[in-house]
């Protein structure tokens, strides 16, 4: 008979947090004695609130649940000063409903199903009318990426994940033109996923799995995918290295992780270059104030190396008004102006004078894009690294 060792447990004293992840389905209490002893010891050390983090505990049977709940019940009963909060994830489905009855029995025990509060600033991108921008952006970047992706190792028949898939249009294009065997597309916005599923259903696409999840703590097993993409997303998270570590984890040894990011201050246009330049420098500052790094593009190589990737490849390309319909490019800029100047700068408390000047740069960029002799560009860095075999 085998003993289940497929769980990990650790205690962080600073956060008073005991984390259990993996699978916990023992046949007997004795099998998880080291875990319960560690949990008991940790509970004995703390004052105030003790956090039991099961966000990434994918499986838990009744033997393990009863063992944990008996211990917690005993401690909560003898130490009414102590609060125990179990932190669950909606991705698991079972965990909140499993622990809630315990909260009904113990006054100093609670269940917290964590959500997306992690990411300040992202609500602008998710709820600020961004779907048309995203569709247009993907359409224009695809002109370049369909050639870049094979150079970075994407091959037909591969098992691929698209993390932070947004509205899912990139996954659809990849599936249609580059033919991986399977795409798992993950995002933490239920609105975007609903849209993605509807688009897939409308087009009769059934080989893409759109799943809900937190990119910084995915409920996906290690070493699953040949090719993992994460586009225009590290730049909108306040802790991009957390996401990158997760991309590394789910990638198979020998597989590759592909990321794209921008450096918005390098957006350019002629004529009216100076005004355009000023506005995009201010865009970078604005995003930084919301703890997002829209200048991340050229830093991709460093980020990939720091996480442990090898054989780093970096491409950069300029999406321009010459890539297709110049009006499509202009529409993207107009959408940026609407969100950055119309919402984010306003909410930051910028003066009307600043906002007017800020808007002018976007309008000048549009002018350059639509000018018969004009040129307008938006630079993007595509980088990938191989997970050591």
């Amino acid at each position: 008979m085998s003993i289940d060792r497929s769980y990990q447990a650790s205690f962080n004293e600073n956060n008073q947090e005991f984390v259990i992840s993996g699978r916990l389905r023992p046949q007997s209490e004795a099998e998880i004695k080291p875990l319960t002893e560690a949990l008991a010891k940790s509970l004995a050390q703390v004052r105030g609130t003790f956090y039991l983090n099961v966000k990434r505990l994918a499986r838990l049977n009744n033997v393990a649940f009863r063992t944990i709940s008996n211990l917690v019940t005993q401690v909560c009963g003898t130490r009414p000063d102590l609060r125990v909060e179990v932190v669950t994830s909606s991705v698991m489905g079972w965990s909140t409903r499993k622990f809630l009855p315990l909260a009904e029995r113990l006054p100093n025990f609670s269940v917290n199903e964590y959500d997306k509060d992690f990411y300040p600033g992202q609500s602008y991108l998710e709820e600020g009318g961004f779907i048309p921008i995203l569709r247009n952006q993907t359409k224009l970047t695809w002109h370049h990426e369909k050639y870049i992706l094979p150079r970075h190792g994407l091959r037909p028949g591969m098992n691929m994940a698209d993390v932070c898939c947004g509205i899912g249009d990139f996954a659809v294009l990849v599936q249609k033109e580059l033919k991986p065997a399977r795409i798992l597309a993950l995002d933490h916005s239920r609105t975007s996923l609903d849209y993605a599923r509807k688009v897939a259903a409308d087009f009769g696409i059934s080989d893409i799995e759109y799943v809900y999840g937190d990119a910084s703590e995915m409920a996906l097993e290690d070493n699953q995918f040949d090719f993992v993409t994460c586009r225009h997303s590290l730049q909108v998270f306040d802790r991009p290295e957390l996401i990158l570590r997760e991309l590394f984890r789910i990638c198979k040894p020998g597989g590759r992780v592909y990321i794209t990011n921008e450096k918005n201050s390098h957006c350019l246009g002629e004529p009216r270059a100076e005004s355009i330049q000023w506005t995009y420098n201010e865009v970078a500052r604005l995003w930084a104030d919301y703890k997002m790094d829209i200048e991340l593009g050229p830093k991709s190589r460093r980020f990939l190396i720091d996480v442990g990737f090898e054989d780093i490849k970096v491409d950069s390309f300029m999406v321009t008004n010459l890539d297709g319909d110049p009006q499509g490019f202009a529409d993207i800029i107009q959408s940026w102006e609407n969100v950055y100047a119309g919402e984010m700068a306003r909410d930051r408390g910028d003066t009307p004078e600043f906002i007017a000047k800020f808007r002018k740069g976007f309008q000048d960029h549009i002018y350059a894009a639509l000018h018969p002799k004009g040129y307008a560009g938006w630079p993007i860095w595509a980088a990938s690294g191989r997970k050591p075999a």
Partner: protein, 152 residues
């Protein structure tokens, strides 16, 4: 597989439920969430069959889909003692205060209630559970699970 082979290794329950749930769930709205829920429910059924079954014969696990629901059927050998166990379970599953029965079993002291897994599947996963004696000293434990949309 033979019931003896199945019952020789506890990890079979976890491995079968995880693998099967992943395969079955791939075309559900959220495949990952669905697989997690299905694996949890299926594992409880498998653990019950692991602990309570007759001595010899085949152990069959069938999964089929009927619209929004997935139906799991476990078919295994059954002796008098096993039959008595499942008949008792069937009676308890008919009780009106099933949620209270489940929570009492979940938080009871001492040895775990042997019907706990079935009670959980019926209450937490709102499964329609049926237990049927079959020809040739066999028993079929079936659960109809409508997990799509069970959580946000």
């Amino acid at each position: 597989m033979g019931i003896e082979a199945f019952a020789s290794e506890w990890l079979h329950c976890d491995r079968i439920s995880s693998y099967l749930a992943r395969m079955v769930s791939h075309n559900r709205t959220d495949s990952l969430l669905y697989a997690n829920l299905l694996s949890s429910a299926l594992n409880e059924l498998l653990e019950t069959a692991f602990a309570h079954h007759g001595p010899e014969g085949d152990f069959c696990c069938r999964v089929s889909r009927a619209g929004n629901a997935d139906v799991i059927e476990l078919d295994f050998p059954c002796d008098a003692k096993t039959l008595s166990f499942y008949n008792e379970a069937a009676k308890r599953l008919q009780q009106a205060d099933l949620t209270e029965t489940y929570h009492s079993a979940l938080f009871s002291g001492g040895k775990p209630d042997p019907h706990l897994g079935l009670l959980e599947v019926a209450v937490d996963y709102k499964a329609q559970i049926s237990i049927q004696q079959e020809k040739g000293n066999r028993l079929k434990l079936a659960a109809e699970l409508a997990l799509e949309g069970a959580t946000a």
